[in-house]
Each structure stands twice: as structure tokens, then as C-alpha cells.
Symmetry: C2
């Protein structure tokens, strides 16, 4: 039904091999026949079947991106950045939401491999290392770090320091840090750096632990507000006592 390389070959009056060579700029092909091929391609609006290509080359135009949850507001911009770059290069993104379950991540990796993805970008905490190493698929960690894997991530020390300096500059003398899981290196480093700066400036520090999910942040916020409310009630009592009412 679809137009194949054969149709193009017939139209251009050459063999499929020549069409292929012209298409991929591979090996010699006379300028005139190249033109004839290109014309035929245009005329028929031929688009190579990427599946057939992939079967032969064992490559593809796909990259797999596995992240905890695209719904978490941190990830869409990550995904977008990746996608933009891939689009420009003619590649495409397959996404997987692991929900922090190793087995889900593992299934995604398998499925991606079965489709000849040429690489993986992973941004989860519970990484299926052994699977990755066995598969020998190029992998880079995004916003995560681990031994034996290339990773791209922000400078957490700098980030934590900047955040602390900024809040100090704004005049706060008592700050509460909503801290991510201490088992996650990135957030822990950020916390450490901020804590360090805050301490140096003798700021009163309050810590609230939170998961990295939206819901976790929400819960942390509620706990924070509750503690503030208590503190305010306490202050109020103090004031009332002062006023000797």
C-alpha cells in the first residue's frame, strides 16, 4: 500500500541499491542519477520505512526516557529539553513513568530495547543497574548520579548556597528548609550546602522532610503551616501574658 524503495527505483529507472545509496549518501552515485532519484522521491512523496531500516541496522531513531512521573512538575521541562534536542536531530522520545518501581523501570527498559532504542535517559532513584549493565545500552542519568554511569545534573552545592544567600539577603532570620529525601544525593547536597551557609550566618534553622512528589510537598507544606500556627498561638499567649490582661 505504502510507497517503498522499489517504487522509487522503478520510477527513477535504477535499482533499489542505487536509491538507497543516494538516500544515505553512501558509496558512489552519479550526479545525474542522484538527481533522477531525488526527483522520483519528490514525485512519489516517498518516506523510508524506518522499521525496515531499523531491522537491518539494529539502530533506530528512538531514545527512551524513564522518569518517576511526568506529572511531577519538575519533569516536563526536562522532557521538553530532551525532546527539543532530539527533534532537531531527527530522533524521537519514548517515555516511561516508573513510579519509583524498579520492576516497572525494568520492564520499560526491556520494551525499549526490543525496539532498538539507541540510548536511554534515566531520571529515577531506583535504577535497575544490573539490567542496564547487562544490556550494554548507552545510558545517561539525568539529575541523578551513580558510579559507572555518565550523568548530567545541576551543581547542587552552588544551588543550595545561592538559595541560602538569597533568603538571608532578603532579611530572614529564621528559615525552614523543606528537604528532599536524604537518600537522594542531589537534594541532600543542596540541603547540606544551604544548611552550611545558613548556619554560618547564625540563622535559626527548621527542617521539614518531604518526598520529591507533588503530594509529598503538599503534606510538608501542611505540616509547616500547622507548626507555624502553633508557634503563632504560642506567641499570642506570650503577648497576652506580657500585656497582663
Amino acid at each position: 500500500m505504502s510507497i517503498t524503495i522499489k517504487d522509487v527505483a522503478k520510477e527513477a529507472g535504477v535499482s533499489v541499491a542505487t536509491v538507497s545509496r543516494a538516500l544515505n549518501n553512501n558509496g558512489y552515485v552519479h550526479e545525474d542519477t542522484r538527481k533522477a532519484v531525488m526527483d522520483a522521491i519528490q514525485l512519489l512523496n516517498y518516506k523510508p520505512n524506518e522499521v525496515a531500516r531499523s531491522l537491518f541496522t539494529k539502530k533506530s531513531k528512538f531514545i527512551g526516557l524513564v522518569l518517576p512521573d511526568i506529572t511531577n512538575p519538575f519533569f516536563p521541562s526536562l522532557a521538553r529539553g530532551v525532546e527539543d534536542f532530539l527533534y532537531a536531530e531527527g530522533y524521537h522520545l519514548i517515555i516511561g513513568n516508573s513510579d519509583k518501581q524498579q520492576d516497572k523501570e525494568s520492564e520499560y527498559i526491556d520494551a525499549f530495547l526490543q525496539n532498538n532504542v539507541i540510548g536511554l535517559i534515566i531520571s529515577t532513584d531506583e535504577i535497575a543497574y544490573n539490567k542496564l549493565e547487562k544490556a550494554k545500552i548507552p545510558t545517561v542519568l539525568l539529575d541523578r548520579v551513580a558510579e559507572n554511569f555518565p550523568a548530567v545534573y545541576a551543581d547542587q552545592d552552588e544551588g543550595g548556597t545561592l538559595a541560602a544567600e538569597r533568603i538571608i539577603a532578603s532579611g530572614c532570620r529564621c528559615v525552614t528548609i523543606v528537604r528532599g529525601p536524604i537518600s537522594v544525593q542531589t537534594t541532600y547536597k543542596r540541603y547540606k550546602a544551604a544548611y552550611h551557609v545558613l548556619k554560618q550566618h547564625q540563622i535559626e534553622i527548621n527542617i521539614i522532610d518531604s518526598s520529591l512528589s507533588f503530594q509529598g510537598g503538599q503534606e510538608a507544606a501542611i505540616r509547616l503551616l500547622r507548626s507555624i500556627r502553633i508557634r503563632m498561638a504560642f506567641l499570642l499567649v506570650m503577648i497576652l501574658l506580657q500585656l497582663r490582661l
Copy 2:
């Protein structure tokens, strides 16, 4: 390098045809040989090459999702919902950000088709209708509507009505509607329904136009706040005059 159906066939002492049949529950295969095949699969940890499958069947496990911009907070949950369902069924999601450019959307569609996607889910405003109709690929519109295409979308009348009723119930007598582009059916309907209810209750209505992007909302909010500030300054002056200071 990878394990193929041939390896399984050899291991199980049968032909590739039999392995294929066992794998796909196609045609007859004796219970004993089926077991032998399954054992071999387990032993070798064989995973079918989806690319080869796809080449033959002209199908795939891929669905293409094209949306304006995954970075827009509305879309991640959409994508997640789709992805969850696909995952459960063994399918996968390829995403494309169209940035509201028809040609970009068109390129994505081409690329997806070249990879034998079995369907498209589209959630953009500038839909490349003619391309879609020519391609004859099953597509469904998400949160958009158009003639000749199946679509899933929220009940906008109901939504607008609910929003209006809710805000009236909360006691507001003067509400400003931040309205999406009137050219987009979904948002326009929502606006209309809300407007209608508000009017019925003699609420004072103020309208601000906004694009559907995050940035657009931000700008609208700024415009809104600015107008409120002016109104407040006005109120203040009135009060001061009242007080005859």
C-alpha cells in the same frame, strides 16, 4: 548478538515456526512442545524483536501523542493518563511537542507513520487535517473537537457552570474571568457557560483574555493585579474623601 527466535527453536528442538506459534497462540501446537518452547524462552531469556515483528505485521506497539507543549501544566496529566493505559496494554508512547506549528505537527505525524505507529492522539489547535485524512491512521482528538474526528473532551458547559456556581456560592459578587482564546472551542464554551450563570445571578463580570500557555496566564494575572491595584487606589481615595481628611 541478541537472542533470536532461531536460538529458541534450536534450544527447544523445534522449528522457528513452532516457536512463533507458541509465542502468539496461533494455530495448533502440542501442549508438550509448547512447554518445551516456553522453557527454552525462559532459559535463554528471549525477548522477541519488536522491530522484526513490526516489519512483517505493519503494526507496532507505539502510539504517537502530539500536544502543544508538555511544559504547559495541563498536558502532563493528560500524557500520564494515556501512558498508564498504554503501559497496561503493552503499548508505548512517543511524544511530540508541536508548539502550535502545523508544520512541526506534520513532521511528527510523518515520522510516527514511518515507524508504524498504530494510532495518533492529538491535542493541538492547529491540526494538520489533510495529512491525517490522507494517512488514514486512526486518530483521536484529546480535549479538542473537529468534524470527522472522534474526540474525547470534558463537558465544557457543565464545567463552566460548576465553576460559576461555586464561586457564586462562596459569596463573590464581582468576578473576573480569565478567558482562553475564543477561537478554541473548549475554552470558549466553558467561558460562555460560566458567563451565562454569572449573568443570571447579576454578578459583576470582568473579562481578561489570555492564551493557553503558562506565560499567557502569567501575563493575564499581571494585568489583572494591575487593574485591581488601580481599583484599590481608587477605593482608597474614595474612603479618604469620605473621611474628609
